[in-house]
Point group: C2
Chain length 422, copies 2
Amino acid sequence: MNEVHRLIKEKIEEKKKGTVELLQKLVQEDSVRGNEYKAQAVIIEKCRELGMELDIWEVKEEEVIDHPLFRCDRKSFKGNPNLVAIRKGSGEGRSLILNGHIDVVPEGDKADWKYDPYSGKVEGGKLYGRGSTDMKGGTSALLLAIEVINDLDIPLKGDIIFQSVIEEESGGTGTLAALARGYKADGAIIPEPTNMKIFPKQQGSMWFRVVVKGKAAHGGTRYEGVNAIDHAYTVISALKDLEVERNKQIDDPLYKNVPIPLPINIGKIESGKWPSSVPDLAMIEGRVGVAPWETMDKVEREVEQCLTALSKVDGWFENHPVEIEWFGGRWQPSDLELDHPIMDGLKTSFERVMEHPPVIEASPWGTDGGILSKGGGIPVVVFGPGTTEVAHDSNEYIELDRVFQAAEILSLFIIDWSNDGA
Amino acid sequence: MNEVHRLIKEKIEEKKKGTVELLQKLVQEDSVRGNEYKAQAVIIEKCRELGMELDIWEVKEEEVIDHPLFRCDRKSFKGNPNLVAIRKGSGEGRSLILNGHIDVVPEGDKADWKYDPYSGKVEGGKLYGRGSTDMKGGTSALLLAIEVINDLDIPLKGDIIFQSVIEEESGGTGTLAALARGYKADGAIIPEPTNMKIFPKQQGSMWFRVVVKGKAAHGGTRYEGVNAIDHAYTVISALKDLEVERNKQIDDPLYKNVPIPLPINIGKIESGKWPSSVPDLAMIEGRVGVAPWETMDKVEREVEQCLTALSKVDGWFENHPVEIEWFGGRWQPSDLELDHPIMDGLKTSFERVMEHPPVIEASPWGTDGGILSKGGGIPVVVFGPGTTEVAHDSNEYIELDRVFQAAEILSLFIIDWSNDGA
């Protein structure tokens, strides 16, 4: 362990309490879509304290609407700003984007939570709450890394461009707006919850909505109607078969430990209004995973062909074809070569801290990395301290030691990345 | 055809236009639950014109809440009155309740309707619109029968107690309130849409809500969650099996032409909030048919046993049992002896008009008849001009000739019933 590393370790030890408090504050502000501003204010305060140059703005649709990667059904971003905070380098170094999203998914059934989902309760080395792992814990690690470098007065040549963005969970308009505003860099790290694995490839994903028809009737003569819920199940079964088919074809070794590399998730169903009526419409919403090497067009075609083929399974669909809509969120996949310098740098820093080689895998979900790489040509790696398994789940938590280890790895990486590229 | 019958026929011919206009007005007033008042006003105006004694009142929960047959989740009846309109007899005759409900079920998907669901459009001898068949057409036939008897100055000994009630579609609180207010009679006719068949027996029904548990997860790692929608389908399959089992046991000849005498209808499903999350809860609502000879307790037990047995089909249910709630609507079954005088009277009038014997069957759905018979000991027959198949369906219509034929049959029946019982 060299002197700088030793100092970083010491400094992190000293900053642990403050970092936990910051993360608690962030978790306690319920920043579901449309309500990001309070948590964002906590981040802004911290960045101001770190002496960073702040760019705080409300995204306007006209900034992003013409971008080919724009995909968003949100009507207004007013009151919930995006943030870019810059720590300027001395010049000629490699610049780095450090990107975290401030939005969280809804908490689900509160009864399934041991503690209030916005408690930030710490117990047994874990901090609990919606967003702890996805990804306020990762953002806290980023801010701790910057704080440590600042406090130790370690000079950096390249710019550090910290981004706290809205809308990641709904398709990345926050990151897209930052890109459209001109923020680019020589590399980017996104500390989404990877269990400390390094993901040079990320699965993309798209949302879909399928409308299935039935025929209404009185429930007492239900045999005169056609229940849309039954046919929705036929659609779900077909999508399950398509998922099996798509995953059979994957032989990328980075996916070897992922049970279903490209899942098709059924996230929502709604049908019927009245217990005594046969429902004549059913609506299914879901998410289909896109492989790093796939285009979204290809996946759209595969799903649409699967739904068209339903008429062979059940004659009903021949006269009552389902309707599909590709709505809302859309996360581009991302695909970085394994020997890119940013990968080398991150692996080296990881080994210095963890004393074993990192696990390199492909992520089973999309991130804003797809926007940075496909939209900005920026090499992106996803690596973070959170626990993948509890993201979007009840009793979401993060192991605090992982936050500190990630900050230590990131500090070392930032220093090397920023200064070696001169 | 006797002289009175000939005069009735003539008078109905003369009143056709006015009756169609009345029915149109009724259909044009969208009287879904909570919005019954405008259609009710049309009825009130007509009853006033017929010189009937009116009792118009807003149901108050305290009038009905202690009744063992009360079952209602509606919070307020304010502004949407119940109506009883009486044509007093000269005395010593048999009294008769003529009961129709003013509420209609929601229209479903408007795109499935050829005409606006509240148009009242007349085409090819049919009048189209939500409620035309169920049961504003039947109510119009009742009012036409009374009008004809009035206009011809035919004396009646017994009282005619016309009821236009709210809440039938949600469990019969309107009829229950009329019963609790003291309205009883020696017999009752309810002109629900029976395709001109006579139903001395009616199937009862109950609503249920089942909550199914899953385990939330990120859709990209959906294999770490348990999708509540999948388990909801296991529940639906089990209920389908129970339906088959229950219907196997039925050998009442009145049900011989009914494909599924006691259906279990799945009327609604809701699960999930987010396409990218695995839903942790699913809610199913439906309706289970109760045989004329069954008690509701027995049926509750059968459904609950079926759901408890799910743990044998799928281990998930052992640790995550479903929850069932018997909520909202509940329609008592009704069971009248086939040789009751009201049956004889109605059959005779039917044959005089139609010149062939009526079809006698058991209804595949509950009506307010269960409340009148079980709650008031009133012999009830359900017989009406509407088309069963289109009740609660899109493009609901009624054949206008059936309305006039029903009015003719009812006029003859009312005269005989009222006067022969002296």
